[in-house]
Amino acid sequence: MPSPQAPTGTTPSGLRHSRDTLRRLTVGAALLAAAGSAAPYTATLTPAAPQEIYLQVGVGAFTNNYINGGQPQVNATVNTVSATLAVGVVGNGTAQAMTTNSTAAQSYWDGYTFCTVPAQLYIGGFFRTTGATTAAAQVTATVPANLTDTTGDSIPFSQISWTSGGNGDTTANGFLPEVFPGGKFVSGGVQTVGSMASNTWNESCWTFSYANTVVTAAGTYTGAVLYTMTAP
């Protein structure tokens, strides 16, 4: 009879192979485990409420100049721009320079004296957003139809225009091309007076002028223009 154990003569060898294989598998698994545990550490960078918006027309408020770590603040002051006409020149077509009660001459960016007061009104701002450059933020002016006095007389807002500039206002000096250009009020309308690219500081100085082409009764005529910044 053939020995029933003959086939089993290979068993030890087979077992040895199996053990070797098992050992290799074990080693392989250990290496894989080691490789897995040495994976690089991952930190997730999450932008947190990064959007900010700031508009200043006339005086504003910063805790300090930007380059010194200043933070924008809220300033509810409403500045005026005005002209006082002598009786003899009313309506003669000679434009009259207007002045402001704003004291904002310096840029909050670096403290540079950018505007000349009281001849000029400061306007500036920025908006912050993450990601690639977006569409520009728009600054609009909501303009009443007229300036009025207490007796109901009126002067069209379109009598007022402005030019734009600033001390040393050139690209070479680090200023952008004029983002708040000169213009003229549109009576009773909403008009765009400037735009700001994202993540840039924008500023101009406006010099207002009264056209003086209408003859009205003596009095104090007032009207308020509301400036609104809308960011995408």
Binding site: S37, A38, T42, P47
Partner: protein, 159 residues
Amino acid sequence: MMSIRRFASTFFLGAALTIIWPAGARAKTVTIDDSGSQALEPSVTMRWKSAAPSRSAAGNVMIGTTTIRVRINVTPWLHHSGHIYLALPVQKPGPIGLSWITQGRFLPGQVASGNRVLVYAGPIASPFMEDTLTFQFSVNGALMARPVPVTYHFEMDEG
């Protein structure tokens, strides 16, 4: 004579190899197991470095800080000397800056993505090395439209 010549040539070849070999040897770099590290915050909150931007749109940097209890397994190099680096690979979303301060076990430093910086050089006396590192990441805000994972690792130069 012939055998002497052969001996001599073998000797000089051996000597030449002995001289050349060390010069040709290159340090092997191995990523260190840092699976024992723990972040104290789940994510790194990125904020503008400055509230207001610049006139030129430059310098729109966002920064974020996180503290991590670093624990690296240096068992394979126990009782040897080693050079440990912190490496910040090139990765999305783009150029990344990383600086850190330590409690003293590792060296403080800073690194830009694509580079590494030495944080320890000396004997490896224990199986694990631990320190608490405060990291500050800096990234251009234009690259930060959404949360992004950033990886770094510690590595050992062997040899």
